[in-house]
Symmetry: C2
Subunit: 106 residues, 2 copies
């Protein structure tokens, strides 16, 4: 069972859940009212989001409020930034690759 942040945000309903609870913590029932799906379906999405630590449950009586852990979202930023650096320095790196090839074929 792969359970990483990239797989978590692949589903449009889960992205919508993330957007909603970014504004304020919400219960599964309250969330479900915003989508054309059942509470159980939302509950399953919340489980996936919780398992990869994007979301944090907090029990209050018989209700459970789910809130976003925005720090976790930064893992996506990190991957993008890493890629951006490769992209921006690719000509230099290509130069060194070509230089190595030249040396080897001598």
């Amino acid at each position: 069972m792969r359970r990483d942040i990239f797989q978590a945000i692949a589903d449009p309903t889960r992205r919508a859940i993330i957007t909603l609870i970014a504004l304020q913590a919400m219960t599964p029932n309250a969330l479900a009212e915003n989508f054309n799906t059942t509470r159980q379906s939302v509950s399953k999405h919340l489980r996936i989001l919780t398992e990869c630590r994007l979301v944090k449950p907090e029990q209050q009586g018989r209700e459970i409020y789910y809130s976003l852990d925005f720090e976790k979202m930064k893992e996506i930023d990190i991957w993008l930034e890493q890629l951006r650096q490769i992209w921006e320095t690719r000509f230099n790196q290509l130069d060194s690759v070509l230089a190595n090839l030249k040396k080897q074929t001598k």
Copy 2:
């Protein structure tokens, strides 16, 4: 067939392909040599990446070089930025929500 950028980057092999061709355009065969999978499997991943415009094929003789369209990656940035703004202003927005509730219950 959902084919958006979020679904595209959900698969770890596709993320690795993106990282490799960020450095330089590559053929399916050359890419496949870097993974423990077949050329056909890489080919299917490339098709998915091409369909959501993350990757651009360029025919050269009988070879096809795939390159990254980094501009497309910025769609992820846009979503993250939008979310960041919601996150950072959530207390203000919560205030206005609560103000509205107060007005309605008067």
